[in-house]
Amino acid sequence: MATRDHGRRWNDVRKLCERSGPMTHPDFVESDETLSLMRDHVRVLVVGSGGLGCELLKNLALNGFRDIHVIDMDTIEFSNLNRQFLFRAADVGKPKAETAAAFVNSRINGVKVTPHYCKIQDFDAEFYANFQIIICGLDSIVARRWINNMVCSLVNYEDEGNVDSSTIIPLIDGGTEGFKGNCRVILPGLTPCIECTLDLYPPQVNYPLCTIAHTPRLPEHCIEYVRILLWPQELPFGDKTSIDGDDPQHITWIFNKSVERATEYSIQGVTYRLVQGVIKHIVPAVASTNAVIAAQCATEALKIATCAAKPLNNYMVFNHTDGVYSYAFEAERNPNCLTCSRTVTKVSMESCQTLQYFMEHLESLINLRNIKAITTTNCQGSNVTLYMQHLHEQTKTNLQLTLMELKLINGQHVNLMDDTNPDLITVQLSFI
């Protein structure tokens, strides 16, 4: 392992990692080996190679990390180029992870960025357990929760119920939206996880169907009318063709029809840009805010890897619309957290409700997304599949049966698989 790349270039980083001072972490040890140890033994995973990801790769490499992996399932688009600086117009269409890795590897001597052009779900616990620090630069809450659930599932508990700290992989999570951003440090099993603080995420704006269908007032209502009601009726590009937000022909068709609808109701304000924004759920983004949040994340990574200073405890918000505002607070753990508490969540339900109703109720009650499987253990101890999307034909009749008819009893544990969890989660039935 040729890691003695100790040219003078790392002098500044070494000052911070290797000199003692009053503001280091309590666990700081003064040693001239700290940077080498970090470069040799700390493998970092960056999840997402977009606005935050590109900045993260640059920051981590220049902070001294040598072994960095990056996952991203997307390819490069033109609209990325205003901030994802590792990509050029000629790269449009290429995989983000691979392009980003190649760029950083060629620019910065000695770093090894390994790309993974695939989904986070393509890897298992064994893969994620290989990293010492995981940093998320994602634009999806579902994906964040999935990673959070994965990392929390890796934590082992000792006999007394204490966390085995050697199984904790710190998770640093960054997010931006326009000129706002946040960065948080999660020590799974010790500090609040993503699931603990789900209510910090504002709900998505959805317009009521009756407004869209009967009483439009805003240009957005007109656009949603075309998306939800008109397109499925007219299927302008073929029977099986659903809306592709990246296809200008689709957007143009939607734009024209939205203008027609708006004209009918004397509504102003339908523009092509607005149509794209609504159809693609576009979130505005700039280089500067992404730079800020990714920078804090990378600083946290260095602090955690070297104890050069105490990490953020534990949630920072940032907003530079009016002046510059930033502050950090200590978010609290949810003692009944579905993910990181060691208690089994109880779900109250009438036994006369159908399985379908139960699943829909679960989705809203504990924020599950798209339940793919629901199983339980019968009194003989064998696994019983109640419903599985994968085996829809074989299991769909169960959806209309009541919980009682399915022979489920009060206190029974039920296992679920959904989009936010890499693994099964368990809840306990409580009949009312």
């Binding site: 040219g7 911070l16 900045e55 180029l81 840009r273 730079a291 990714a294 600083t299 200073a309 530079h320």
Partner: protein
Amino acid sequence: MSDSIENSPSPLSVEKNRKYDRQLRLWGDHGQMRLECASVCLINATAVGTEILKNLILPGIGSFCIVDSSMVTDDDLGCNFFLDKESLKLNRGKSVMRYLLEMNEEVTGSCETGPLESLIAETPKFFRTFKIVVATGITDRELQLLSALLWGYNIPLLVVDCCGFIGYIRLVTEEHTVIESHPDNAIDDLRIDSPFPELQEHVDNLDLRAMSSSELGHVPYLVILLKAVSVWKENHGMESFPRMKDKQQFKSIIKLMMDNIKPTLNGNENSPEKENFEEALKAVNTALVPTKIPNEVMEILNDHKVNPLDVNAKVDDFWLMVYGLGQFVRRHGCLPLRGSLPDMFSDSRSYIQLQQLYRKEAGRHINEIGSAVGDLLPSSRPGPQSSSLQLFCRNAAFLRVVRCRSIQEETDSPNCQLIRYELNQSIDSSINWYIIYLAANRFYAEYSRYPGDCANGSYESDVSPLRSAVRSVLSALQCSTVANSFPDDYIHEWCRYGNSKLHSVASFIAGTAAQEVIKIVTHQFVPLNNTLIYNAITASIDVYQL
């Protein structure tokens, strides 16, 4: 974003619309055009400096010029993304050009390799071409010279630095006006306490008792509130208006109206939703707050720039429009109507009708202010464009003026009161870092190196001289009384840093600084006033008006 201005087709090319889409949604085509016409000067291609440029080049700044006379060192390679080994010992400004420019082919750039002081002394007019000058890693002496020059030219200066885990930004601009401040939480401009005549007429002509249940269930809550106010006036007198203390009573009027929704005679219609009435009840809290002119706007109206207004001086259109606004406010006692409505549960026609009423009235106000401005201008001077006037009136409640003291003022008459207050507030006030930052620059002036910038074994020996520098800074700030209680930890910590530049800290402060540049150039969003301290350990930011 408001309509009509944005309804017109984009003046930007298809390619630019594609590339810049995500940022155009924040500052619009007009903001983008201002960015593309701007030229920025960067003093010193440090890590902070080049990251600031990166964050300006990516969104499409017109052009930049780097002034840097230093050579690339190993330390630079360790923290600067835009250098590689081949650049060692070459001019640093020149070396970063290629990697910077390749990020956006629309941007042009150049560099000056001579020393800054010579440039200031010999060709000061060089700086007049820039919209703003960003300075990183300059000495106290360079700062004095540069800031005095730029203040004279009325060009904003942004000083940006970092050391270890601490970042520093200082904005200097004599006056910066903002029409589009884009506040996060603006109160709607409904004028429930002072409905304009056409609105009142419209509401009076609506007979709620003659409506079917379905129609009643689709009356916009704005109308419901105004009807309820009419009932209130009948009971309490025409001059009376419900206040917050009358909230419950006012809500009962609405509830009574709500109870009048009866199911239809044939019984087929489901009992209608009363969503609009629920909205009305919820809106009572804000509706009863009297329409008032925000303090910040009052201050602008009373600003010396318009009292009196010197039309013949080179006064910005902004002040001409403020003058017109002042006339309007004097005559009517309120700001021009914003003209936009929030969405409200309603049938389409009723809502659009209301919207049109508000738009027409707002249009009348814009014309009135436009005339007032036109009247005062000599024929030789063209007035503000109608699109600017429209933008101005729509944003009348959000106007902001930022004035940052000069470096000279900060040095000659420091804000001792604020500093003393901060020092007394908490032993861990971020003002400590400001004090140390000043002290470190004094240290440099005396020893030609920064505290702790030496071998690992000897950085602690800089603690004592840095402590002396801190004392003299505190003395200059008339804070000698607290010199003994100044936390020694901070001094040790700064020596530990040894002038180190950690890339991620540089990147954070550069991201923040770059956005301030964009605010100055686009005149949108509100710049900080005037000193920012960033602490990467606590992940916190403090801004002081020093």
